[in-house]
């Protein structure tokens, strides 16, 4: 019993070390990422004007097909980094890509898309960022992957780097497509 007391500190430190090791050895771990409680839940309801001014976008536009829902803004530099990846995803006709233009002037966003190419089937304009809060957005860019039933299945925080796409995004999309609901 007395001995046990003396062995306690070293045992505690070894366990702690093992935990630190687990965390450090996990290469995919992002210590700053916040897991979204919305994963596994239906998309929240919203209604926003379309960026092009022709009517509105609602949660119904995210249902019925596997959808990539990307939060972007023209003032956001990392968005430029992931833009080519979105363009490549747009070439995949099985997917629908919807944009949420976050706290942006519509004319700036339109110019940005004209310049870099428009991967989006439709873009919702969230000038106040209120819909983004309902999606639990805390930075730009963020990307949600939504299945055909309108359930959020994955969230990616920060730009999708071309190098990350094959490991972190593509498998999710392929799985959802296999479940059915390609466009």
């Amino acid at each position: 019993m007395r001995r046990l007391l003396f062995i306690l500190p070293v045992s505690a430190l070894i366990i702690l070390g093992a935990i630190f090791f687990m965390l450090l050895a996990d290469k995919t771990r992002d210590p700053g990422a916040v897991p979204s409680p919305l994963v596994g839940k239906p998309v929240p309801a919203f209604s926003l004007p379309r960026l092009d001014g022709n009517g509105s976008v609602t949660e119904a536009d995210l249902k019925g097909a596997v959808t990539v829902f990307n939060v972007f803004a023209s003032w956001c530099l990392p968005c430029r980094v992931e833009h080519p990846v979105l363009m490549r995803m747009a070439a995949d006709k099985r997917l629908r890509i919807v944009g949420l233009n976050y706290k942006d002037k519509p004319e700036d966003a339109k110019k940005w898309l004209a310049e870099l190419g428009n991967p989006f089937a439709v873009v919702a304009s969230d000038r106040q960022g209120r819909a983004a809060i309902d999606f639990g957005v805390y930075g730009v860019p963020e990307t949600f992957i939504i299945d055909a039933r309108g359930i959020i299945r994955h969230k990616h925080v920060g730009p999708i780097h071309a190098s990350e796409y094959p490991d972190r995004i593509a498998p999710v999309i392929e799985r959802l497509l296999r479940e059915g609901g390609g466009k």
Partner: protein, 160 residues
């Protein structure tokens, strides 16, 4: 250590808040009812500014923090209880948004440990003190006790 070193990096580099235009929702003004405003301030201190990682939204000037402050004030004005406001936010951002971790099965250890440690530590100390005190027979009269103390003191002096 490097105080504030990456405060800026988390804000500016990753999410480009530096260039974020100030489109905060509505106004950032205090509620007219002082009691409601006090509740809002209390809630602000319990909510984490997600962009800046370790500050409450009360402390932060980040755009998102400002939006969340406005949101909290709106909900309070609409008659939400504190719990309802917090639930509204955890439904969107998860428990991570709460600076005060909610008491649930995964956080029992966190909340109980400090006080458990105090009790266990106190117990161990008391036990060892009693074990050490045990050799002294209980029934000593005052004179004997004084003599014993004297002897013990004498016993220790040469060593020290």
């Amino acid at each position: 250590m490097m105080r504030a070193l990456l405060f800026a990096a988390s804000l500016f580099a990753a999410f480009n808040a530096a260039q974020m235009p100030a489109f905060a929702i509505g106004s950032n003004e205090a509620l007219a009812d002082p009691a409601q405003e006090a509740r809002a301030r209390e809630l602000f201190r319990q909510l984490r500014c997600l962009v800046c990682q370790n500050q409450s939204i009360d402390d932060s000037d980040a755009d998102l923090a400002r939006d969340l402050r406005v949101l909290v004030r709106e909900r309070i004005k609409a008659g939400d209880s504190n719990e309802q406001v917090l639930r509204f936010l955890t439904q969107r951002y998860g428990d991570f948004v709460l600076l005060k971790p909610p008491l649930k099965s995964s956080t029992v250890a966190l909340w109980a440990a400090p006080f458990a440690l105090l009790v266990v530590g106190g117990g161990v100390i008391a036990l060892r003190a009693r074990r050490r005190a045990r050799p002294a027979p209980a029934a000593l009269d005052d004179a004997e006790r004084a003599r014993l103390a004297r002897l013990l003191a004498d016993d220790e002096r040469p060593r020290t």
